[in-house]
Symmetry: C2
Subunit: 334 residues, 2 copies
């Protein structure tokens, strides 16, 4: 077992030297549920932390069918073509997987998968959103320490995970296609207002006119939204991953955003807020996890839920009875 | 002390008989932080629960300056004029109070305040959002048991409280004024996508044309939003609280919504989901409350936060160190 031969110092040195094999193994450790792996992983992350942070972190979302994979392929090739090193990560909790798995299928990114300046890492598998999100944020730190200056984090815009992605990136890109039919109804409400840019994809062939029209409609709609605290006015752009048109404008728009928010101080302020957010979010998630995984709670919850649903007990009384059961159990354990 | 002379049975009988004095005293009990008051209050609520639920619950939000108070006055008079009994509640946690207090000033609702078919109750005072929201939801149950068939819950659309309101109402109305200038920039992102209707207020005098234009713009923008799970397409309406025009259309729109969602089953499904939501939300809030109010945690948090903000410690390590401190403290207490 090759992994056993590395010390924490070996891992850190390998990552800082940009060794992809060691980076991948370290990410695998962060994803492991074994306590001994977690201990090593946390140590590696702490030691990599001072070398992290020097990248542009970009979130990409869009429902299945919007062409995210082909977009990432075209966009990624453009970015590495500019001399950047690109890591592509994903947040795709098991509960959302059925709604459209992402990144699992590297064949959709044939060129990017073999690009020496790109590193593609699928979503950590099965687990709660909180757990998956934590692992992705840790991977992001390791990738930055390994010298990747552009990080893409992909998610499907149908569940809760886009909020998690939004909380760990600098720029949030929403991918859409023109003529939103049934296949696009699934996108979650509220996502549009999170976007720093919207890209209307598949603006090629017969679709160009429709895409241009959609661009104007969305741009008008965005004008009605409240201003972002970044002071940035989101743009709606069109692109074709097939014909590789408009991709450069999206990258330029992201660079504009970075220079705009770095100048007004928002970029760093947001990064700091996100670090704080993840401290509190981790605490809150763990508090919930311990509660809901306790046998005495798991056994009682269905009954209380039924009573609440049938208006036989108020939500608040049910909550307090369960909390009493929990805290008396916690206290009685050594 | 008159309150001492009532038993729980007295309170319940008084509420069910529509006695406003007793209703008010019961609400005061739910708002009290004294454990003995809470015990009585919970008992009253449990006994009123079977008589609650038969109302239309309407949430109203909008930034200060949008004319919420005058709107509620005109809207409320219209609703009571149709023979309905109206209760007006509010969620206005102390943290948000500075951004625009609401309902505290009954002088803005002179007519409604003396209308025998209306009951106005200001927001529970000072406290966390979770606590204030819980109290408002309990008041709602008591008001329904007292025979109020229309409940308005007002909030300021600048903080977190509109999510709490949205989670306890059937219909969510966003109040706006045309020509959104600086005074409207403060509205929180994401609220527009929660709205079941948007009302462009102050559509009178020189403002009519601007309001009509805004109506068209917002209606076009809403078309681009993902469809709501209710299957309801939100309308944008104009009204003048001053000239009492358009108020009836808003009420009719709400009634249309109720009949639409009652027919497709969404109305009841949402109510049940909300009851469940509040059970879990109360649990999660109490778990957080106990954690963050523990002295050992309060003492350590600033230091950990500083380390996380300065990238000296990862968010996750900080969280886990604090959690360890918490659980060892909980276990060691009798």
């Amino acid at each position: 077992n090759k992994r056993k031969t590395y010390s924490v110092a070996d891992y850190v040195a390998g990552i800082l030297a940009g060794n992809i094999g060691i980076l991948s193994q370290a990410i695998t450790l962060t994803e492991s549920s074994k306590p001994e792996h977690q201990l090593i992983a946390q140590d590696i992350i702490e030691k990599c932390l001072p070398y992290s942070g020097k990248s542009v972190r970009i979130g990409i979302t869009g429902v299945p069918g919007a062409g995210k994979s082909t977009f990432i392929e075209a966009f990624g090739k453009h970015v590495t073509g500019q001399g950047h090193k690109l890591a592509v990560l994903a947040i795709d909790p098991s509960s959302e997987r059925s709604k459209g798995s992402i990144l699992g299928d590297k064949t959709r990114m044939e060129e990017l998968a073999v690009d020496p300046k790109a590193y593609i890492r699928p979503s950590p598998s099965a687990g709660s959103l909180g757990g998956v999100a934590r692992k992705t944020r840790e991977s992001l730190i390791l990738c930055e320490a390994a010298g990747f200056d552009t990080i893409l984090i992909e998610t499907v815009g149908v569940g809760q995970s886009e909020t998690a992605v939004h909380s760990m990136v600098d720029f949030f890109l929403l991918i859409k296609i023109a003529g939103a039919g049934d296949e696009l109804q699934g996108i979650k409400r509220g996502i549009m207002e999170m976007a720093d840019a919207i890209s209307i994809n598949k603006a090629d062939g017969n679709n160009i006119h429709k895409a241009q029209l959609a661009r104007v409609q969305f741009q008008n709609a965005l004008h009605l939204f409240p201003e972002s605290p970044s002071g940035w006015i989101p743009k709606v752009l069109t692109c074709s991953s097939l014909e590789k048109t408009g991709i450069d404008s999206i990258w330029d728009n992201i660079l504009d955003y970075c220079s705009h928010t770095q100048q007004n101080g928002y970029f760093d302020r947001r990064r700091r807020e996100q670090a704080k957010y993840w401290m509190y979010e981790t605490i809150n998630e763990q508090l919930r996890d311990r509660f809901y995984h306790l046998d005495v709670i798991k056994g009682q919850i269905p009954d209380f839920e039924t009573k609440v649903l049938n208006d036989e007990m108020s939500s608040f009384v049910a909550a307090h009875k369960l909390l009493d059961a929990y805290f008396s159990d916690v206290k009685n354990k050594e």
